[in-house]
Symmetry: C2
Subunit: 513 residues, 2 copies
């Protein structure tokens, strides 16, 4: 047999005297030994616990074990073969994959808009994987349908709406697509059936600091990237409302049809919040759908201290908010929320498949929520957030957000004090953007040569930190600024000691440059 | 503190004499006790093992513990509160959620196009959850990027192409959307930037038996549901090529622009395979993109005995194939594959975000595959399939497919022999469609009254089986046929004894109707 867990399967030996043979296959008894499978899971668990949970979050371990692509291929033995491998060999594969994976829950992982490890969420995710649900009908996902409903309702409260609707989607990018599609449907329902050909040109608006998914949405939904009118942002990264007004008027003058403004609450690089109240005024004036991409910044809604950053969000028609980012619910956990209570999701997306959404079921089929979605099978991403919330409480989530933002503030102050570091802008949220200027550049005049050399500093420090495995911090050029570090602070496992470490480590890695 | 795992956090007591206070928050040390979190995971594991794995796949346990929506709300205590709950209380919540969830890995779950439990895949999924990767760059997902590449290459070989490209997507529906978008881009690249407004009307073709996601794709991508020309299928559920030819000619005559044919390999209800060779001929003749939705039927590509069902797929331009269905990789695991080797994904979808896809990285950035996607954060769905394949081998996967189809054949033969059962059509794949006719209807003449009464039988039996928790089998009306059962056979944990049980149980539950 190809696998040690398959014991009496396939086209090999019969298992009983009165065996049933069909198409050359014996059909008596299972061909998979579930007990052996369970033993495998039991043997794997201590490895997961030690390597992927304990060590992966231990500050004394490496955050990554760097190997270049070609070398990594060799380390992992990637090839798939005719025959299977013994469980012990598979356990070794598991160890190898864990070893060479980046530990995104490590206290020194500051590289993306997610980080940390919440053990409650993790347990919920293990359960979800074991239960393997698909959230389309109450029939096959009773618990997860109900949990999704409750947590969406709670998130809608946080936004400040009196009711609304929502769905969990596979990413903020898809949530933004939902927003564009619902706005388009609201603007002109016949587009669902007739399509855009022959329709007037639709135009959407967003700032130059928006997430790249807005452009992808325009391309994918047939609107076209050129019909995304990009509104300038101020030096803090916030959309300038007067410029938005100008762009709307420009579109109207051109004979095009404006239909949606996509504002951002928490931009990817700078962590900036667009002025939502003023944008809401403009949307109201022109009758435009007001979408807020709060995928990253939505976390601040949990904090009484910081939710003012999103003042005006209660006037939005739709909101994208990813609890897998600031709230650590685990990738992916992305809510798309709408203020509408008239069943816009169903009207815009439903196709009433008779094999799935039968109307003669014996329970209230309004709980069969799958037809709201553009997906068919859909993961139970609400559960992990719900269990974490149950365990930590609203107050616990708030404490985490407050703490992360206080740490960002602390880091910014340290940067301002420390020689060789220059803060790009005062953080409002959890993005701290700064340059490290090595001693060799400190006396150069502020001219093209200085900036050219500084541009090359962050990539080299990044390479060194990854090869050492000491930490991971992102960098990028942005608008008129050469490469700078962007440190993201999220996890309640980190503290000021980690902030201090980051600056010391960057200095240690880059002082010779 | 709101949560017992948070020990010294938030705005409460300082932990050190030289504490740093920012915005009213002490910043020394973590505010989360990781050790307590690890203990929680360790305590949860035996519960998951016993309740969500062992019992959930034990044929002597119930497949579901039915509660109506309102009662279920009470059972679960869904409310989210200011304060958190103690770990022991959270463990109870976990048990409750498991208890009331449908056990989709149970040997008597025949309700959807997925079923069973593969323990290797499950362990990979636990690891993925602990590592919490997002597959967009080699930098943060080195292992998973490499594994995705290898498994896509292997799947492309199975399709029969000499090379190609692919990506894992969040569902077959999204894969079908990818197909439509790539086909549209290939047909007219300027649509990405210009949009569809002012363009000639684009038309897509699919059969009346296609998955409902084709219509959703047309709506979402701005093409319009009316521009999906629906081709009649024969009585086996296969697209009629001559009718496709007629529809293409109709579109051309109308001045519209045909650009894609979406064929289906393994339809949802009947498990039918469209005649791919003949459809390929028509696509070739008219220069149309040929997409095959093999989300369900793709599993047959693993079987030398059954892959003939997909003869002609090697001529497709793109294929959707979900290993989470027949191959039990766990929801979701959905590959979208294209024959093109000229970087169509990047051209069609890229947006070159400078904060993520920096070009001055220290490694080969061709491994930063995220810009191929319409998503930003993306799950490592390839890994679970890869680990399972490693363990079971190509041969083991083939054995499972052969066995499932042999069991379907066996069940069909039993249905033909058994009084009161009527087979709808001979199965080609793992869908067995049949009516159960209770004794009270057996002597009725074949007229409207008979069919009206028969239509009501399956829903009642379904209600009874769910309330009893003995098994789950789907039913639906389909085209001119009243409600019938659709039994799906996948898992290597089931055997002929389970097939026999299904028929006996339906009879026991419905003989009084």
């Amino acid at each position: 047999m190809s696998s040690p867990i398959c014991e009496n399967g396939g086209s090999s030996k019969p298992v009983k005297k009165n065996a049933v043979l069909v198409d050359g296959v014996y059909l008596n008894g299972p061909i998979m030994d579930s007990k052996a499978g369970e033993r495998f899971v039991e043997e794997a668990f201590p490895i997961i616990m030690e390597e992927a949970i304990r060590k992966a979050t231990d500050v004394n371990e490496k955050v990554c074990e760097w190997q270049p692509p070609e070398e990594l291929k060799q380390c992992l033995d990637l090839d798939l073969r005719e025959g299977g491998e013994a469980p012990q060999q598979i356990l070794k594969r598991c160890k190898d994959v864990i070893k060479y994976s980046v530990k995104t829950g490590h206290p020194r992982f500051f590289n993306q808009l997610y980080a940390g490890m919440d053990h409650y969420s993790l347990v919920a995710r293990f359960i979800t994987e074991a239960i393997n649900p698909s959230v389309y009908t109450f029939e096959v996902s009773p618990t997860f349908v109900m949990i999704e409903e409750v947590i969406l309702k709670k998130m809608i409260e946080c936004v400040g709406w009196e009711g609304g609707d929502g769905i969990f989607s596979p990413g903020g990018s898809v949530s933004n697509m939902y927003a564009v599609n619902l706005a388009r449907y609201k603007h002109c329902p016949s587009i669902k059936d007739e399509g855009l050909s022959g329709m007037p040109r639709l135009v959407m608006f967003t700032s130059e600091e928006c997430h790249y998914s807005i452009g992808k949405a325009a391309a994918f939904l047939g609107i076209g990237t050129k019909n995304v009118y990009v509104v300038p942002a101020d030096e803090r990264g916030k959309m300038i409302p007067e410029e938005l007004e100008k762009q709307v008027q420009r579109a109207v003058k051109e004979g095009a049809v404006p239909f949606i403004v996509c504002a951002t609450a928490g931009t990817t690089v700078l962590g900036a919040f667009d002025p939502l109240e003023k944008i809401a005024d403009i949307c109201q004036k022109h009758g435009l759908w007001f979408h807020v991409d709060a995928s990253w910044g939505g976390g601040a809604l949990m904090s009484n201290k910081h939710r003012h950053l999103l003042n005006g969000i209660q006037r939005a028609d739709s909101v994208a908010w990813n609890p897998h980012k600031m709230l650590m619910a685990g990738i992916q956990c992305c809510a798309f929320l709408v203020k509408d209570k008239t069943g816009l999701f169903e009207k815009c997306h439903s196709s009433q498949a008779s094999y799935l959404f039968q109307q003669d079921k014996f329970y209230d089929v309004s709980y069969d929520t799958g037809d709201k979605s553009i997906q068919c099978s859909r993961r139970a991403d609400a559960f992990k957030f719900w269990l974490m919330w149950k365990a930590v409480g609203t107050r616990g989530l708030e404490d985490r957000v407050n703490r992360a933002l206080a740490l960002a503030r602390y880091l910014a102050e340290e940067i301002k004090k420390k020689e060789g570091f220059r803060l790009i802008l005062e953080p409002e949220y959890a993005n701290v953007c700064f340059w490290y200027i090595p001693p060799s550049l400190r006396n150069l005049p502020d001219g093209p040569e200085f900036w050219k050399k500084l541009h090359q500093v962050a990539p080299v420090i990044k390479e060194r930190m990854m090869k050492k495995g000491s930490m991971m911090v992102g960098y990028q050029p942005h608008r008129d600024k050469v490469n700078f570090f962007r440190q993201i602070i999220i996890s309640p496992q980190v503290s000021r000691e980690d902030m201090d470490f980051v600056l010391q480590e960057i200095e240690a890695l880059g002082k010779d440059l």
